[in-house]
């Protein structure tokens, strides 16, 4: 598939990810970011947070996964050339039940060889990233 058939303004995916404390520990180990506010409730509260929060880069990583799953599913052979996000609110991850992160991807711009997506990312009804954008260039 190519970029034909897509149009600006179109919502192309909505992906939901469950996030648990164990996921944050695994991400801390893989990324080297061992800041205790992402693992330890007491440390998070001492820093003025309501509870343990996800690494902003973990949430951004989930957005990259949503983008990749969409592009692969759409049969696009594309390379990610630009990826950005602003961290607006923390993703709070309680020990009991964890959190859910929902990523909705919309086409912002489109030309013959590239597509720019704008993602709305929410958790617990709050926008956590504002905005997140990704540009894919077809190989």
């Amino acid at each position: 598939m190519s970029l034909t058939g897509l149009e600006a303004g179109q919502t192309v995916f909505t992906s939901a990810f469950a996030v648990t404390r164990a996921d944050l520990v695994a991400y801390a180990d893989a990324s080297g970011d061992q800041n205790p506010i992402h693992q330890d409730e007491a440390a998070a509260k001492a820093a003025g947070l309501p509870d343990v929060i996800a690494h902003g880069m973990y949430t951004m990583g989930l957005v990259s996964r949503a983008v990749r799953e969409w592009s692969r599913g759409a049969g696009l052979d594309a390379t990610l050339t630009d990826f950005s996000a602003r961290f607006a609110k923390p993703v709070v991850v309680p020990a009991d039940g964890g959190a859910e992160v929902v990523v909705e991807g919309k086409i912002r711009k489109l030309d013959a060889t590239s597509v720019e997506l704008a993602m709305t990312v929410t958790s617990g009804g709050e926008k956590v990233l504002a905005p997140a954008r990704a540009t894919l260039v077809v190989k």
Partner: protein, 132 residues
């Protein structure tokens, strides 16, 4: 408050670091990404932030990590990096802006492989002021 005279400072590139297949696999697995041998989109932060720390972890700069929040992140990729790539990181303090008693610290790290500049990574840190 940060020492604003540090704006514009940069460090020479680090020694080359090999992005191992094992590190790529672990990072991909932690995010639930399929591991196709390419370096995951956000992987470079695990190299660029430690590289930048050498520039900003300096008592004269006045950065207190317990007051830091990650505000913005951007990656620009000039080509695809695959596991096995050896890369260097060169960090620059692009700007230090004071907003309502807090500081916004903008960092850029150029990531290069044997063929030249492969990616640019921008990180903006929010540093809470004394009143916060």
């Amino acid at each position: 408050m940060l020492n604003t005279s540090y704006a514009g400072r940069s460090l020479p590139p680090t020694e080359p670091v090999v992005i191992t297949a094992d590190a790529v696999t672990r990072f991909a697995q932690a995010l639930g990404l399929d591991d196709d041998g390419t370096v995951p989109p956000t992987f470079l932060i695990s190299l660029t932030l430690p590289a930048a720390e050498r520039l900003i972890d300096d008592p004269d700069f006045g950065l207190d990590w317990s007051r830091v929040l990650h505000r913005e992140q951007r990656f620009a990729y000039h080509r695809e990096l695959r596991a096995g790539a050896a890369v260097t990181c060169a960090s620059t303090i692009e700007s230090i802006k004071s907003v309502a008693g807090n500081d916004l610290l903008a960092l850029r790290t150029d990531v290069a492989d044997g063929d030249g500049l492969a990616a640019e990574v921008w990180t903006t840190l929010f540093v809470a002021g004394d009143a916060a």
